[in-house]
């Protein structure tokens, strides 16, 4: 059972197991401008492209939100030493609100980079916090996110010494409709092997739009 399948089953089970009246189901579509940089000891390889995807989230009042997201896209070569790749990811996350403006965030994600010569799978566990600072009494929120990835399993690579995801953005809410603009940076520093140090980074600028399909507040 892959982490993605497990997450999907868990989300469906939770949706089915609780009374719909207490929940809110929100669907979000997003598009991201992504840039990937990797240096495996032979210079920085740069590639960029567009990702698209969707996310379903269930709010379990008063403090829990569960989310399942799927992303896919392509990375085109920006440097001659880079390769074109297709990217696909499934992620499940659970957030728990500890303060009106602070959430604990935990999740798992599995991502594949598919190139003509090989496919590389990344599976990670993410733990961190997200702050949501209200503007104008909550109609707009400023976002700050920092997650550490204590477990990252990458095909053919060692566990990175440092793996983190950080982001900042803005979320707008008008009734059941929401929109979000965010910048997210993923950084992976791998240990030195055979005198070569591998560093990898993915940055995305994401625009998303969501709608609460039923239930209470989408947040």
């Amino acid at each position: 059972v892959t982490p993605g399948r497990f997450a999907a089953v868990a989300l469906v089970a939770l949706c089915a197991g609780r009374g719909a009246a207490a929940q809110a189901l929100t669907a979000t579509a997003f598009v991201s401008s992504a840039e990937h940089r990797v240096d495996a000891g032979f210079g920085v390889e740069r590639s960029s492209g567009l990702f698209g995807g969707g996310r379903l989230s269930v709010t379990l009042p008063p403090r829990v939100v569960l989310g399942l997201a799927a992303t896919s896209g392509t990375l085109d070569r920006d440097s001659t030493n880079a390769e074109e790749r297709r990217v696909a990811e499934v992620a499940f996350d659970a957030r728990y609100r500890t303060l009106p403006w602070l959430w604990l965030d935990a999740g798992v994600a599995t991502r594949t980079y598919s190139a003509s010569i090989a496919t590389q799978r990344w599976t990670s566990l993410r733990l961190g916090v997200e702050a949501r600072i209200p503007f104008l009494g909550g109609r707009v929120e400023g976002l700050g996110r920092l997650l550490f990835l204590p477990v990252v399993a990458v095909t053919g690579l060692d566990q990175p010494d440092l793996a983190l995801t950080a982001g900042a953005g803005l979320a707008y809410q008008v009734g059941p409709v929401s929109a979000e603009l965010s910048y997210v940076l993923e950084r992976y520093d791998f240990p030195t092997r055979d005198g070569l140090t591998r560093a990898e980074q993915l940055s995305t600028l994401t625009v998303s739009a969501g709608a609460r399909l039923f239930g209470g507040s989408a947040r």
């Binding site: 401008s33 840039e35 940089r37 990797v38 240096d39 920085v44 600072i133 503007f135 104008l136 009494g137 909550g138 707009v140 400023g142 976002l143 700050g144 983190l164 950080a166 982001g167 900042a168 953005g169 803005l170 603009l181 965010s182 910048y183 940076l185 950084r187 520093d189 560093a199 980074q201 940055s203 995305t204 600028l205």
Partner: protein, 348 residues
């Protein structure tokens, strides 16, 4: 011997008033005993002495009424009806409740008393019976009497007041009972205080009017009530309008988010990978503009809808709590028991 005489003199001085009162009572008892033995000729002088102005001892109203009553009864037995009526009238004028027990008095005597009633017009009220009265199940009861047929208006007033609640307005003849539900003119229970049953009567037989009063005190026996909560003070409420510092805070937040985006692309990024900052700048710019717009909106519309709604909710909750308290108090007040005690005079 001197000590004995002094003690006798002191005892005589201290005992004098008692002796005087007892003397009237004793004489009345002796006269009644003679009357009961039908020794009318011997009873009459004793009774006349009691009602005579020269009688040296104190005579209560009840004793005087008793003396007149037995004088009337004795004279009726002696077939001196006119004289009997005169004494019966004297008794009725002082106490309109005077009556003759049919078991102990003859029809001629009662006939003479009836005639005296027709010739005399008086109205009287008995002292109010003391005790608790539950207004839900019981009534405050008053007893009054007219010596003959009369138009009667009975009213409960505050002591010294000129108007109140009319409890009886009809013709009456003889002894009557009136019930009062304890409600005042505003439809609520009469407040605690001193009250007066005021009876005005106009004879149907003669051009005569008379009135009577009975004073009583009214108290409420109420279960203890809850106090309602005070209105919310400003300190209990959230500010409903943003201050200048709150508006400035919106700019600070915008700068904070913008700085966060730039810091991520700068400090958190791996310097060896020469991360571009274009994407972070987009978010930083949007955050700065959002902060500025939020600042301007705050300045133009300082109301804080969330706080207004929260305050409204708090006020509504407080109002609901007080409504519940008032409802419980109303239920307790509805269980109020009136405590009635007879009183004399006007002032409390």
């Amino acid at each position: 011997v001197r000590r004995g005489l002094a003690a006798l003199a002191l005892a005589t001085a201290l005992g004098a008033p008692l002796t005087a009162q007892d003397t009237t009572g004793d004489q009345l008892a002796r006269a009644r005993a003679l009357y009961e033995q039908l020794r009318i000729e011997q009873a009459l002088p004793l009774l006349r002495e009691i009602v005579a102005p020269q009688w040296p001892h104190e005579v209560s109203t009840a004793q005087r009424v008793e003396a007149y009553k037995y004088l009337g009864a004795a004279l009726a037995l002696a077939r001196m009806a006119d004289s009997a009526v005169v004494y019966f009238r004297a008794a009725l004028e002082r106490d309109p409740f005077v009556d003759l027990d049919p078991v102990r008095f003859t029809p001629d005597q009662r006939q003479a008393l009836a005639r005296a009633r027709r010739e005399t017009f008086a109205v009287g009220a008995q002292p109010v019976r003391s005790g608790p009265v539950d207004p839900l199940t019981d009534r405050v009861r008053f007893t009054f009497v007219t010596t003959h047929a009369a138009a009667v208006r009975a009213e409960v007033r505050t002591a010294g007041g000129s108007s109140g609640v009319v409890v009886y307005r009809s013709d009456a003849d003889g002894v009557n009972e009136v019930a009062w539900d304890g409600l005042w003119t505003d439809g609520r229970l009469a407040p605690p205080g001193r009250y007066e049953l005021h009876i005005d009567a106009t004879s149907r037989l003669r051009q005569r009017r008379d009135s009577a009063h009975a004073f009583f005190d009214l108290r409420h026996d109420v279960p203890s009530l809850e106090d309602t909560l005070p209105d919310l003070a400003p300190a209990d409420l959230l500010p409903e309008r943003a201050t200048g510092s709150v508006a400035a805070g919106e700019i600070v937040k915008g700068i904070g988010v913008a700085g966060g985006a730039l810091m991520i692309s700068g400090l958190l990024a791996n310097g060896a990978l020469d991360e571009t900052r274009d994407r972070a700048v987009v978010v930083a710019g949007a955050a700065a503009v959002t902060g500025l717009v939020a600042y301007l909106v705050r300045r133009r519309h300082p109301e804080i809808p969330a706080n207004v709604a929260a305050n409204t909710r708090r006020r509504e909750e407080r109002r609901a709590v007080n409504e519940a308290i008032r409802a419980r108090n109303a239920q307790r007040i509805a269980r109020t028991v009136l405590i009635v005690t007879p009183a004399a005079g006007i002032g409390p």
